[in-house]
């Protein structure tokens, strides 16, 4: 009875790839001997396989490879990863704080001006933040996603992955998803200037 039914195309594929258990392979071979439709499908798939397997890898031209290596931009850090705990940046921040504290001390001692403390204190915080990169980090953490475009490509990429994404005024608007889901779906895109806005109903 089974031999009279057409096998599923996945089994026909596995037959071509010789991935079936021996008993099932024999059954399918028996079916193919009597079924012209399946035998033709298998014949075509095998011919397509041979055509593709005869191809070689194509080589990237040397000048293109050199251009890639030449044009690599400075590496970026992920928000919250590496940067916040980088020993070099922490050291730079501490150094900036110490230097500023020393300057404030000198100013207070030489002028006796209590008014300078508050103003200098604000600058110290800014300097420490700038040295550690924390200011940039915190402002980015609150913003929308900014990824490499074009916007239409990002939107189509999202739609292919099942999201409701549209392009509105050069921005990609995603509805009915969380920012985390969108972020994960676009994890393989690098940062850029296309804004992706996630709107939940």
């Amino acid at each position: 009875m089974v031999a009279e039914m057409h096998p599923h195309e996945i089994e026909l594929f596995e037959y071509v790839e010789d991935e079936l258990p021996q008993a099932r392979r024999k059954e399918i071979a028996a079916h193919l001997a009597t079924c012209g439709v399946c035998a033709e499908q298998v014949g075509l798939a095998a011919a397509g396989r041979e055509a593709m397997r005869g191809t070689e890898l194509l080589e990237l031209p040397e000048d293109r490879r050199e251009a890639i290596l030449r044009n690599l931009p400075a590496p970026e850090r992920v928000q919250g990863e590496g940067r916040a705990f980088s020993p070099k940046l922490v050291l730079a921040g501490l150094t900036a704080l110490l230097l500023l504290a020393a300057v404030i001390g000198v100013l207070v001692n030489s002028r006796g001006g209590a008014g300078m403390e508050s103003s200098a204190g604000g600058t110290a915080a800014e300097d420490a933040t700038a040295a550690s990169g924390g200011g940039v980090e915190s402002s980015q953490a609150k913003s929308s996603l900014f990824l490499s475009g074009p916007a239409a490509a990002v939107a189509e990429d999202l739609r292919r992955k099942g999201f409701k994404a549209t392009v509105q005024a050069d921005r990609v608007v995603v509805r009915g998803a969380t920012e985390e889901q969108v972020r994960e779906a676009l994890a393989d895109r690098d940062p850029g200037d296309v804004e992706v806005v996630v709107k939940n109903p």
Binding site: F13, L72, V78, P150
Partner: protein, 176 residues
């Protein structure tokens, strides 16, 4: 599955350009083959590869190692190729690309072959599955992960893609 690229990836994640250069060396031809066979254009494929490696370099700090590096890289490559295709559609008609370097004659002849002409006519999903499996030798699991479908769907796509390809090649041969 242990990733053979893991040690280099770890170094590259920390900004080691030499390590990334070695990753480029390892994957450049496979990535070009994927882009060229799916786009059918040498220039656009080389642009996509260049873009993909730059995106990978910038995105490495976000790569968590949840998949093989090669799978992640191919996905970036497919996205870059897709962007190239969109760009092609939106480019003004009178904008002419510079011709490819004549030294890439093998690349050019491959992309003007009957096989490539047939590949160009396949549905995108079939073409990508066939190239990943038959040319690059990716596993079903890798292709499923790369294309967001089940392994059974991957097998169906390869089967149908190969069959259609053979039909197209047969038709073409008969016409010539």
């Amino acid at each position: 599955m242990e990733d053979p690229d893991a040690p280099l990836v770890e170094r590259a994640r920390r900004g080691d350009r030499r390590a990334f250069e070695q990753l480029v060396e390892r994957h450049q031809h496979r990535l070009l083959t994927l882009a060229a066979r799916t786009l059918g254009s040498a220039d656009e494929a080389a642009d996509a590869v260049q873009e993909a490696f730059i995106r990978a370099w910038l995105g490495l700090p976000r790569f968590r190692g949840g998949s093989l590096f090669s799978t992640w890289l191919y996905r970036i490559g497919l996205n870059a190729a897709h962007d190239q295709r969109l760009k092609r559609r939106t480019e003004p008609l009178d904008e002419v690309r510079e011709p490819a370097d004549p030294q890439d004659s093998f690349l050019m002849s491959e992309l003007s072959s009957a096989l490539q002409a047939a590949l160009n006519q396949l549905e995108d999903d079939y073409r990508v599955a066939v190239v990943l499996y038959d040319v690059l030798g990716c596993s079903y699991t890798e292709i499923a992960e790369l294309t967001d479908v089940a392994e059974g769907t991957v097998k169906s796509r390869i089967f149908r893609g190969r069959s259609r390809l053979a039909e197209l090649l047969g038709t073409r041969t008969a016409e010539e």
